[in-house]
């Protein structure tokens, strides 16, 4: 049972990394970014290449992989997302989907279609009440909690964070106070993408790696954001971990139904709390 809980939390942590960016992008720019997990996937593949290149220094490779994603997400923001401000949601959906289509194809081109195996970089276990718990997973959860604290600090204490919070309330108001909000939204977007890449990098050793991995995790992230509320930092945190637990518990009794259960939860939430977008 403890094992299930640890598993659940670690999945929740990964979902949190990815969903945060999605939630913020929607809250600030009102854009549904279908290509969000493209940076996730790119981060993973960059990691693979870097790990091979750096001969196994996982931490360094992980950090570099996340940084690699930054210019890519900047390009996406500058040329696609920015043009979608204020557009009808159908078009943002389709355009960002097109971006992910292109991106996945590029990945297939460079790295091929076959799955890459990767193993747990720590590989050690913690003895806890007679059970051996993988340290790596616990570490992921700790990082997620640290991230939550850091983000909270950022949005509550720094001026940039406060500007973003203000802009979430009243974008025009911020503009009329002389602040170029779009610039800050770009920063938020890139931050979100980098976090998604971080999620990918951390999850890579314990999941299967293939070019379409972005799609399945994207759907789950959407579910997290919908359940937690768009642009709601605390809500995203809670719903990520909650849904992570749902997946873990479902997997225990019905091994393949984990993802499906998340969607069922999402559907139920949508019935009782439909979003007005």
């Amino acid at each position: 049972m403890i094992y299930t809980i640890v598993y659940g939390f670690s999945i929740g942590a990964i979902l949190y990394f990815i969903s945060i960016g999605l939630s913020l992008t929607f809250g600030t720019m009102r854009v549904i970014n279908f290509a969000h997990t493209l940076t996730y996937t790119i981060g993973v593949y960059a990691l693979i290449t870097l790990v091979a290149f750096l001969q196994g220094y996982f931490v360094l490779a992980a950090i570099l992989a996340v940084f690699v994603v930054i210019p890519i997400s900047y390009v996406i923001e500058r040329f696609i997302i920015r043009r979608l401000y204020g557009e009808s949601l159908d078009y943002t959906f389709i355009a960002t989907f097109a971006v992910s289509l292109i991106g996945v194809d590029v990945i297939k081109w460079i790295w091929g279609v076959n799955p890459y195996p990767m193993k747990d970089p720590i590989g050690e276990y913690l003895m806890f009440w007679g059970l051996s718990l993988p340290i790596y997973r616990i570490l992921i959860v700790i990082i997620a909690i640290l991230l939550f604290v850091a983000l909270n600090f950022f949005f509550k204490k720094t001026i940039v964070g406060k500007i973003v919070v203000a802009a979430l309330d009243d974008k025009d108001g911020v503009r009329c106070l002389g602040i170029n909000v779009d610039k800050y939204f770009s920063i938020v977007f890139i931050l979100g993408s980098a976090l998604a890449a971080l999620g990918g990098v951390l999850y890579a050793p314990i999941s299967s790696i293939h070019p379409y991995m972005g799609l399945s995790i994207l759907l789950l992230s959407f579910a997290v954001v919908i359940v937690g509320g768009m642009g709601n930092l605390k809500g995203t945190f809670i719903s990520a971990f909650a849904l992570g637990m749902v997946m873990s518990i479902t997997a225990r009794y019905w091994s393949q139904g984990a993802e499906t259960m998340v969607f069922i939860v999402m559907a139920i939430v949508l019935i009782f709390k439909p979003i007005d977008i």
Partner: protein, 330 residues
């Protein structure tokens, strides 16, 4: 206030002849089997266009209904009765029933919510036929479908299948065309433009949306059933979530909200997806870029673009400045 998306001009019987001959003409170039495929996709595209183009709701999970129709028809033939017509009816019925049930929930949402919840259900459906229902559906492997002959109606024969599908396509086209220009159709298009206003006029928009959802699902089910019969085979690919991009692309390229556009878009997409991979290895990238270009430049689809150009030429000959409408309510 005049509706912005008026239905395609009614070319009457000539329209049918044009469509039929269009398909007949390309047959010698490709093959009967291929064109039948195209036509089935066009039926699917029209069902999607009803939902997206006319009612304005983008679904990213419409394949669910195609798959349901395919499995419905296929399983019927496999386990119950080989009668192809009955199988098709069963396929439509099952898809329609699913639409009725899911529609109750789904139709309450809009925009991104709508797209995503359809996507989620499509995903769930795909998973269901792949895994838990494996006993019945044979999971990933799928199963063969061989319909029995019904008098002269031997759907195993390619030319007959071709003719049958063409007939279905024309029937669906006719049905949808009548529907769109009927009061019901006007209601649907009004909902797309401004649902709140329609509701304030006292109409139960929920009912209309639900009905449209069921219809779109049923027609997609028809396409699915025809797929099963055409390939004599059903597997989870009939419900593949990724295939949704095809029908979205088709409607965009043809111009959403335009039945002729759906047909042209459908054929275009089929040609692209069937033949492009042969010449361009990275055809999905190409698809992605084209989608981007269409989204940013050709909103009304390529067809709509040319229609617009034509109208501008005609307008220049007539006269004058467009009349400006009155003061807006603030």
């Amino acid at each position: 206030m005049p509706l912005k998306n008026a239905p395609a001009k009614d070319y009457g019987a000539i329209g049918f002849l044009v469509i039929a001959s269009g398909f007949l003409l390309i047959t010698p170039i490709l093959s009967t089997h291929r064109v039948t495929d195209f036509m089935i996709f066009c039926i699917f595209a029209m069902s999607f266009d009803l939902l997206y183009g006319y009612m304005g709701r983008l679904s990213f999970g419409h394949m669910l209904f195609l798959g349901t129709g395919a499995y419905g028809a296929g399983l019927f033939i496999k386990y119950i009765n080989g009668n192809p017509l009955l199988a098709i009816l069963v396929g439509i019925a099952v898809a329609g029933l699913l639409g009725m049930l899911l529609g109750l929930i789904i139709v309450r949402t809009t925009g991104a919510c709508f797209a995503l919840i359809n996507l989620a259900f499509n995903h769930i459906g795909f998973f269901l036929v792949l895994s838990p229902l494996r006993e019945i559906t044979r999971g990933e492997d799928g199963f063969g479908v061989s319909a029995s002959k019904l008098g002269f109606l031997n759907l195993g024969s390619r030319p007959i299948m071709f003719g049958f599908v063409l007939l279905c396509l024309l029937l669906v086209f006719y049905f949808l065309k009548r529907l769109i220009s009927s009061p019901y159709g006007i209601m649907i298009r009004s909902i797309k433009e401004d649902e709140t206003r329609v509701r304030f006029l006292g109409y139960n928009t929920y009912l209309y949306k639900w009905l449209t959802f069921v219809l779109a699902g049923s027609i997609a089910g028809l396409a699915g059933a025809l797929t099963a019969l055409n390939y004599n085979y059903v597997n989870p690919n009939a419900m593949d979530v990724n295939s949704n991009v095809g029908v979205v692309f088709a409607c965009l390229i043809g111009g959403a909200g335009n039945l002729y556009g759906a047909l042209i878009g459908g054929v275009t997409y089929m040609i692209i997806s069937n033949f492009l991979p042969i010449y361009i290895h990275r055809w999905e990238m190409f698809l992605g870029f084209s989608l981007l270009i269409i989204t940013f430049r050709f909103r009304k689809g390529v067809w709509g673009y040319f229609q617009g150009v034509w109208e501008n030429i005609v307008k220049k000959k007539v006269i004058g400045k467009p009349i400006e409408e009155g003061v807006a309510d603030l």
